[in-house]
Amino acid sequence: MTNKFNCILLLDDDPSVNFYHRILIDDLKLTDELLIAEMADDAIFLLEKRLKEKRSFPDLIVLDLNMPRKSGWDFISYLKKRKFPEIFPIKLAIVTASENPDDKNKAENISEVTAYYVKPLGEEEFMELLNMP
């Protein structure tokens, strides 16, 4: 059992959500490296850059669904297209304000999605994610 993530990527358009997740992650000392993006395009840019520079790739992505421009779904399509979940051991956690059952069903049908939570995440959820295989 690992007690830490190598690198976590937070992708949410709401800076307050990112802030809250950040202080929680800091407090729980969940990772050494935390990446934060407010738009899917920024996150894509970050990932591509890391890949090019051969730096450690995030092993947890906390992803919002409803975002300006590219949605969370679009971002998942990008990940799949780039085959990142196959190459890297990525845990993909969808966190959304949506309790919409359609979204949940859709998420359950995507094998790359590790978990689906209503946001924001708490200490318990982070620990759960850490302990997931």
Binding site: S16, R69, A97, N100
Partner: protein, 457 residues
């Protein structure tokens, strides 16, 4: 044989009815009856020539075959010659019958077929012509009988069989006949009118029912729209409004835990407080705009809106901001007047101008052009800017509730302005769309139809 008869029948019907197929009108049915009568009357009038000839040969009544033949020719003409008005055709038919009738009457008097003809003519006229013509025939009947009575009295018809009747019988029976034809001349048109009234009432009822049904469908459509809107608002209150709420709770929990453990640093606490404050601001902004959204069109009725005035007012309200940002406003043409909701149209313009300023290019001085284009069924109002522009992928999405193209940290706002605009355009029965390319400005178009909306003067 059958087909010849059918051909003949359709030929006559065609001559009389032509293109007139307005079954709502009494005249149509009168003409139709007239045509049907002609179909049978033509062979009948041909056949009556035969007894006429026989009477001539046996009794020397030379006039009988002549008038019978004459009538046949007239009926033939009435049935087939094109270009005669139907009223004239009918008068010709009735006139031809009158000639035969007068001759028959003067030969045979009361017992002959002339008397029945006389009565029948009134009935025929009542059936195929307007009421006044039926009344004329009653007068004609009286006049013909009067003429023959006078001739009888002065011995002018002494050579004819008619002279064998006593004059008193003649007068009494004639009076009864005239009275009877008068009754029929009154009764038949009345019956027709009543029938027509009944039929047209039924038609009116049918039309009203159709209108009611259409109204019902419209109301149902409005109801559906309202329900959709409510569902949307429901979804939003449970989704978009919950989000900052949960976040606040999370932050407070975190803070509480730290305080209990006595581990919080003053700096982090103040940062948390700042986030809580901005989250609450966002919530109240969202609630406020949601209320505004649901209020669109609720508290007013459509009125005459002078677009030029509304545009002028809206621009004036931006004057302070315009001075700061060095905005150039230009109204490109005289704007028409529409029927609509002036407060809402002003809101729409305000949102569009507000967006144009918010998403201006940093390097350029903002320019905003407002104008309209006349269309056949309404007008298209446009607001054009030289701002950042929008990629085609998002031309639809931007009009959704709480949809944003930029992260909260870059641009404030509830993400509801264009949803407002869309609802306002739809309130007027119109629509809104955008033409834009990233980096080269946007044009927002609003189509406002010329409707037959009921409005307060």
């Amino acid at each position: 044989m059958n087909s010849i008869w059918k051909k003949y029948q359709s030929r006559v019907l065609n001559t009389i009815l032509g293109e007139n197929l307005d079954r709502d009108e009494l005249d149509y049915w009168r003409d139709r009856l007239f045509a049907q009568i002609l179909v049978w009357f033509l062979p009948f009038s041909f056949l009556t020539i035969i007894p006429g000839i026989s009477m001539w040969l046996n009794h020397g009544f030379i006039l009988l075959p002549i008038v019978a033949f004459l009538r046949f020719v007239i009926v033939l003409g009435v049935s087939f010659v094109p270009g005669i008005s139907n009223t004239n055709r009918k008068i010709l038919l009735i006139g031809s019958i009158y000639v035969v009738t007068t001759v028959l009457l003067s030969y045979f008097g009361l017992l002959g077929p002339g008397f029945i003809y006389l009565f029948g003519t009134t009935v025929l006229a009542a059936l195929i012509l307007p009421k006044k013509f039926a009344m004329y025939t009653v007068g004609f009947n009286a006049a013909i009988i009067g003429l023959i009575s006078t001739l009888l009295f002065f011995g002018g018809l002494d050579d004819f069989p008619v002279s064998s009747y006593p004059i008193v019988h003649w007068v009494v029976i004639s009076l009864i006949m005239v009275f009877l034809s008068w009754v029929f001349a009154l009764a038949i048109p009345t019956l027709f009118l009543k029938l027509q009234k009944h039929i047209s009432n039924e038609e009116k009822l049918k039309r009203r029912m159709k209108e009611d049904q259409a109204q019902l469908w419209r109301t149902l459509g409005q109801l559906k729209q309202k329900t959709n809107e409510l569902e949307e608002i429901n979804y939003i209150t449970s989704h978009d409004l919950q989000e900052p709420m949960r976040n606040i709770k999370g932050l407070l929990n975190f803070l509480e835990k730290k305080m209990v453990a006595n581990k919080e640093s003053g700096q982090q606490a103040s940062e948390i407080m700042q986030h809580i404050s901005s989250l609450s601001d966002r919530m109240s902004r969202q609630i406020h705009s949601l209320l505004e959204y649901s209020r669109i069109g609720r508290n007013s009725n459509p009125k005459r809106v002078f677009l030029s005035e509304v545009v002028e007012e809206t621009i004036t309200e931006f004057s302070e901001k315009a001075k700061c940002l060095k905005v150039r406003f230009e109204v490109e043409n005289e704007l028409e007047e529409v029927i609509g909701y002036s407060y809402e149209i002003k809101q729409l313009l305000t949102h569009l101008i507000d967006n144009a300023l918010k998403f201006r290019k940093v390097e350029d001085e903002p320019q905003i052009f407002i104008g309209s284009k006349e269309k056949t069924n309404g007008i298209v109002l446009y607001v054009k800017d030289n701002g950042m522009g929008i990629e085609a992928d998002y031309h639809q999405k931007i009009f959704g509730l709480f949809q944003r193209l930029n992260p909260l940290s870059q641009y404030k706002g509830a993400g509801i302005g264009l949803a407002h605009c869309k609802k306002i355009a739809e309130l007027h029965g119109g629509k809104i769309w955008v033409e834009s390319k990233l980096g080269s400005g946007s044009v927002f178009y609003v189509f406002l139809p010329k409707t037959q909306m009921n409005y307060d003067q």
